[in-house]
């Protein structure tokens, strides 16, 4: 019952009186609808009170109106967590700014003797009500957090139900008392608009800020001289105002964006266990391949012979890669004499690793700058960027017991031979010192 009274009857009364009352007042007494200025009487308090109050309340009211008029847009904006955080904290700061401004304005009305003369009771009531209403708003921001998000399911549809003449109290009947009080306060203000200085909100002098300067001067000769100067100063002031607002907005947005990213960058990721495990595995396998590399190096330091492979594994057209004693790649083929043919795979041009497939002309290819090397002579083709031939490597063939069957040095001088039955078990090695192979 009381809900119906406060949230259905009161709104319609308020809207009716507010709208038609304001129109009536503006029509009948147009000169009174801008608020009575007191700047002549007292200036300092006005600056510290009026400015924060009006800045704060304008932005807050605008946010309320956007949230009510464009719920879809609003929802899409606040669905980003960071935006919601920013919005809520800005809102709270602004409401505190409003409260402070209101306090200054109220004290000023109460204490300045000159102002007492022009202050009506209605002014004082309005200030008190505003204090209460803004205080409620701030309290909601603190106690019922994320109002900018939950409003879209509660108060917004309620307001729309009022506007569309299908009043539905159920949207807000379960709301906390704070919120209900705030809503009642809002309707009361709409009701009070035609009867108080609140009506001046329909006469916001926005254009004053940025309009071309108008300087009212007495037209005597002395004043005319300074007129130009004043004009220029005003013009510059106008530009500085624009500059300030632009830089402030841009700087604010940039710094918020940067701060957000910078913080989360340094905070670092907190990974799920599965992802973390996968990452660990990758790290470990990379470490293992480094370990393998180091072991190869060590082996080449320590041992005199390095296994290339079984003699029977060697192929005439598809070379087998191995790493020589200087940790450079090399390839093993089977030569025409059925013996191993070992050739360096480090391109003599710029050191890329040469491919191991022999083409139909008996050549292997370095992919970096397209040099073809003949595997028998080692010589590059005529047009190749590489000029020097790939050097051959010497080799040693041993049987299973480790006794040497045959060997060849890097210059191609061979000795010994491998019989057909020995071939099966024969293994090809490279030797550390050339002297040992010869």
């Amino acid at each position: 019952m009381i809900d119906t009274l406060l949230f259905v009857a009161l709104p319609y009364l308020a809207l009716f009186v507010g709208i038609f009352g304001s129109i009536y007042r503006i029509r009948t007494a147009p000169l009174t609808y801008s608020s009575l200025s007191s700047q002549f009487l007292e200036n300092k308090g006005l600056m510290w009170g009026s400015l924060p109050w009006h800045i704060g309340i304008t932005i807050i009211l605008a946010a309320h109106i956007i949230a009510f008029l464009f719920p879809g847009l609003w929802q899409s904006i606040v669905s980003h967590q960071q935006v919601l955080y920013a919005m809520e904290s800005i809102g709270l700061c602004l409401s505190i700014l409003c409260l402070l401004g209101l306090l200054v304005l109220g004290l000023r009305r109460l204490t300045s003797p000159k102002l007492q003369a022009v202050t009506t009771t209605m002014d004082l009531v309005i200030i008190l009500l505003l204090l209460l209403q803004v205080g409620l708003g701030a309290a909601i921001a603190v106690h019922c957090k994320w109002g900018s998000a939950w409003c879209s399911g509660t108060t917004t549809p309620y307001v729309w139900s009022i506007i569309t003449f299908q009043p539905d109290v159920s949207y807000i009947s379960e709301m906390p008392l704070l919120v209900k009080a705030h809503i009642v306060g809002a309707w009361l203000f709409i009701l009070a608009i035609p009867f108080s200085r609140l009506i001046h909100m329909f006469a916001v002098p926005v254009e004053y800020l940025f309009r071309p300067p108008q300087n009212v001067v007495w037209t005597n000769s002395r004043k005319l001289e300074s007129q130009d100067q004043a004009f220029v100063k005003e013009e510059a002031r106008r530009h500085f105002l624009w500059a300030f607002s632009g830089i402030a907005l841009g700087g604010f947005l940039l710094s918020v964006g940067t701060f957000r990213n910078v913080f989360s960058f340094f905070f670092g990721p907190r990974l799920e266990r599965k992802v973390e495990t996968e990452l660990m595995e990758t790290r470990l396998s990379r470490l293992e391949s480094t370990v393998g590399q180091r072991k190869l190096e060590l082996e080449r330091q320590a041992s005199n012979y390095i296994l290339v492979g079984k003699l029977t594994d060697l192929n005439a057209s598809n070379g087998k890669y191995f790493i020589d004693f200087s940790m450079q790649p090399a390839i093993a083929f089977k030569g025409k004499d059925e013996m191993p043919l070992l050739i360096s795979a480090k391109c003599t041009h710029l050191g890329c690793t040469v491919g191991n497939k022999v083409d139909d002309k008996g050549r292997i290819l370095c992919p970096c700058h397209v040099s073809y090397f003949d595997i028998v002579s080692g010589e590059p083709n005529a047009e190749a960027p590489a000029k020097a031939p790939l050097p051959h490597l010497g080799w040693v063939i041993m049987d299973e017991k480790g006794s040497v069957l045959a060997r060849r040095d890097s210059k191609g001088k061979s000795q010994g031979s491998v019989s057909a039955e020995q071939r099966e078990s024969a293994r090809v090695y490279i030797a550390k010192n050339q002297e040992e192979t010869t």
């Binding site: 910078v262 391949s289 041009h349 050191g351 890329c352 370095c366």
Partner: protein, 367 residues
């Protein structure tokens, strides 16, 4: 002895002309400085833009330092970690990559415009030489930074690059022939590009080059402020604007716009996308070199000619080019701005053609 005295006198005379001590104060270096307005005025912004990209490099580079690990086993993983897991990491890394290219591009444009505007004229020789050295340092930055992700293209391109240094040796006489090899081994640190190379390049890229660049940049800027903006055109400009605050704020506004463009590009196009993905795999020390190894685009102007022409031609040409660049203030002392403009245009045409169509030209001649 007399000769020594004469030489000393000459040096001090040279320096006092270039560094007018009486102008070394805030008033004449900052307050009084003016920037001429004429049809080439845009040239005055290119230097600031280069510095802006350098600042971005410093900041994003510092960010990357927090996560990057310069070891052969971890480098690639840590870079992937930055891209895939750290919040904003992909953006920062991508910005670092894009901005490096932009910095080099701007530095080249700055050099070209300064040349065309004859900004190296007496007494600005020191500014010019410092600027040329700055450009070389910037290239070295690009080369050393390329290795750090330790993927296939990084290591193999570095291998080829370092090996090319050694290649110079065969054209040097006697004892000198060994110098390039020793130089390569110093930078490489071991038999082939490996952990030692990575450590050295990392130290260069992160500490030594930035220090060098910052100090040279300090000298460069001091000189610019000392001598004021060069006239830039033949007829002295009628109009000029104050450096403080008009030009500075205009510069800032340009920086903001450029930052926006960089931000959008870095957010939307991963720099790595331009390479085939096998080249982005972690470097495999025991595999063969994959196809398609080539340097970054800003080396194309020397890379493709290098592929097409004999090495000594390129060596000779680049040595001449470097000498001409460094001694430009003396070589082109009497050259008119018209001629300089023509030289600049032809040089730019060459750079653009080689960078954009280099690959096609290479294919055309090789096949």
């Amino acid at each position: 002895m007399i000769d020594l005295d004469k030489a000393a006198h000459k040096v001090s005379g040279f320096l006092s002309e270039r560094i007018p001590v009486e102008k070394l104060n805030f008033h004449s270096m900052v307050e009084k400085k003016e920037v001429p307005i004429h049809k080439m005025s845009w040239g005055y912004y290119t230097g600031g833009l280069t510095m802006f990209f350098f600042l971005i490099q410093v900041v994003t580079g510092l960010f990357l330092l927090f996560y990057y690990q310069p070891t052969v086993s971890d480098a690639h993983v840590s870079v992937e970690y930055i891209s895939h897991y750290v919040a904003g990491g992909a953006l920062i890394r991508n910005m670092h990559a894009w901005s490096s290219s932009c910095m080099i591009f701007c530095a080249m444009v700055h050099l070209l415009t300064a040349f065309a505007m004859k900004s190296f004229e007496k007494p600005r020789e020191i500014t010019w030489i410092a600027g040329v050295l700055l450009l070389f340092i910037t290239f070295t930055f690009g080369f050393t930074g390329y290795l750090l992700p330790w993927n296939q293209i990084a290591v193999n391109a570095t291998k080829v690059g370092l090996q090319s240094v050694e290649y110079v040796g065969q054209y040097l006489p006697g004892q000198l022939a060994d110098v390039p090899r020793i130089l390569r081994e110093t930078f490489q640190g071991e038999a082939s590009v490996g952990q030692s190379t990575l450590g050295r390049f990392y130290a260069l890229h992160v500490v030594i080059l930035p220090l060098l660049l910052a100090s040279l940049l300090g000298l460069h800027l001091l000189m610019v402020q000392l001598h004021g903006m060069s006239q830039g055109v033949d007829k002295p400009a009628k109009k000029a604007e104050k450096f403080i605050s008009i030009f500075v704020f205009k510069d800032l506004s340009l920086w903001a716009t450029v930052f926006l463009a960089l931000f959008v590009v870095a957010l939307c196009i991963p720099f790595d996308s331009f390479l085939p993905f096998p080249l982005l795999a972690p470097f495999n020390a025991l595999g063969s070199t994959p196809q398609g190894i080539k340097p970054e685009w800003y080396f194309f102007f020397v890379y493709y000619p290098l592929e097409l022409l004999p090495f000594w031609v390129i060596l000779l040409a680049s040595m001449v080019a470097v000498a001409v660049l460094i001694f430009a203030p003396w070589i082109f002392k009497g050259t008119s701005r018209r001629t300089l403009g023509f030289i600049t245009l032809s040089a730019s045409a060459y750079l653009v053609v080689m960078t954009v169509f280099g690959e096609q030209i290479y294919e055309f001649f090789k096949h």
